[in-house]
Amino acid sequence: MNPTRKRRLTIVVLIVAAAALAVGLGVYALQNNMNYLLTPSQVQSGQANDYKTFRLGGMVKAGSIQRSSDSLKVTFTVVDAGGAMPVEYTGILPDLFRDNQSVIATGHMDGARFVATEVLAKHDETYMPKELKDAMAKAHADKKVSEESAQGDMP
């Protein structure tokens, strides 16, 4: 390689390395701000006290969805591994909103209740036909039953 090309190569590599370092440090510094949501247990431990509005994320507790008969008002409970939080929302919910679905609600605290102005549903990265899902759920349930009966057999 001739000297001119070698010099150009060095300059280009150095500039790219410097830019990568700058972006890397910037992203690292923003790490905490890049997180999208707080979970109910984080809110209850006081991590949301600094925020007027924030995003609350977790699962919709099965059977907790209650719709008002004369308005678009909905109340439900969002849970994570260590906490639960009642949420109130008025508006149209996304198609995927249902029991045991991951949701992300934006809003503020009103006493112990979370009043949401927007509710988003999160879906995971799994795609499969409904029949397969049902078959898997059935296999899982059968396994559970056989385990339970096996335990029942023990003295």
Partner: protein, 252 residues
């Protein structure tokens, strides 16, 4: 001449040889792109079963995901070509880098629009400042910046070198787009298709997706070759080989 590079590759880098080579391959690439695209659309929209969670609405994945892959793939090609253009000043590399940018920008735009259309019914919003969505938007701005900078110069080759620099620096964004869903809590889902390890999609949905990926790759080749040929003619306007093509055209 470096001895480790085969002679045919050196020849391919010369504008008249590449012009002929691209002219021969282009119709085949376009034909394959159309054929595979039609198969993938039929497989995805008709043959593939509905999803257990999202029903039929998930079918936009067959456009959204291949476009997103192409938006990153084309940026990588543009970055490598820009690097070669800056260090070795090969004319063909400059042309390939600059003519990749509009195609990549188009794929990025399609990704953002289809993602938005998918996000409204499923998530409940057209847009949110999630790490994946934001980094993909930055990718679009990088493409537009490269296109803009290239055309801001009177001298095309000088413009290509300036834009190549921007393209190389912007390549840092490509891994950020790819890994954003692993590094941060995002509304966007994680990766479904994994090269290493098992994909989280059943096979009757996966094959149309992979077929569409091949179709978009061939479309890129066809579109790029067409653009590069036009650009080479314009850049080499005064040279003998271009004059000969023009004379042959005039005769027929």
């Amino acid at each position: 001449m470096s001895s480790w590079i085969p002679l045919w590759l050196h020849k391919l880098g010369s504008p008249p040889t590449f012009y002929r080579f691209a002219g021969t391959l282009r119709p085949w690439a376009m034909g394959l792109a159309l054929l595979l695209g039609a198969i993938a659309l039929y497989g995805g929209l008709v043959l593939a079963p509905a999803d257990y969670q999202q029903g039929d609405a998930y079918r936009i994945i067959f456009i959204h995901v291949p476009s997103a892959w192409m938006s990153m793939f084309i940026y990588a090609v543009m970055g490598v070509a820009s690097f070669i253009a800056l260090v070795w000043r090969i004319k063909l590399a400059e042309v390939v880098a600059m003519e990749s940018a509009p195609i990549g920008a188009a794929f990025t735009f399609i990704t953002l629009v289809t993602g938005s259309l998918w996000g409204k019914p499923m998530w409940g919003t057209w847009w949110t400042w999630d790490a994946r969505l934001t980094s993909e938007l930055v990718l679009l701005f990088l493409y537009l910046g490269v296109i803009g900078l290239y055309h801001a110069f009177e001298d095309r080759r000088q413009g290509a070198r300036a834009a190549a620099f921007l393209a190389i620096i912007g390549i840092i964004n490509v891994p950020i787009v790819h890994f954003s869903v692993n590094w941060w809590n995002t509304l966007h889902q994680g990766s479904t298709v994994n090269i290493f390890g098992k994909s989280k999609m059943s096979w009757d949905m996966l094959w149309p997706l992979l077929t569409m990926m091949l179709a978009t790759k061939f479309y890129y080749v066809a579109s790029l070759f067409n653009r590069v040929r036009t650009d080479l003619l314009a850049l080499e306007g005064g040279k003998d080989w271009v004059r000969k093509i023009a004379e042959d055209e005039a005769k027929s």
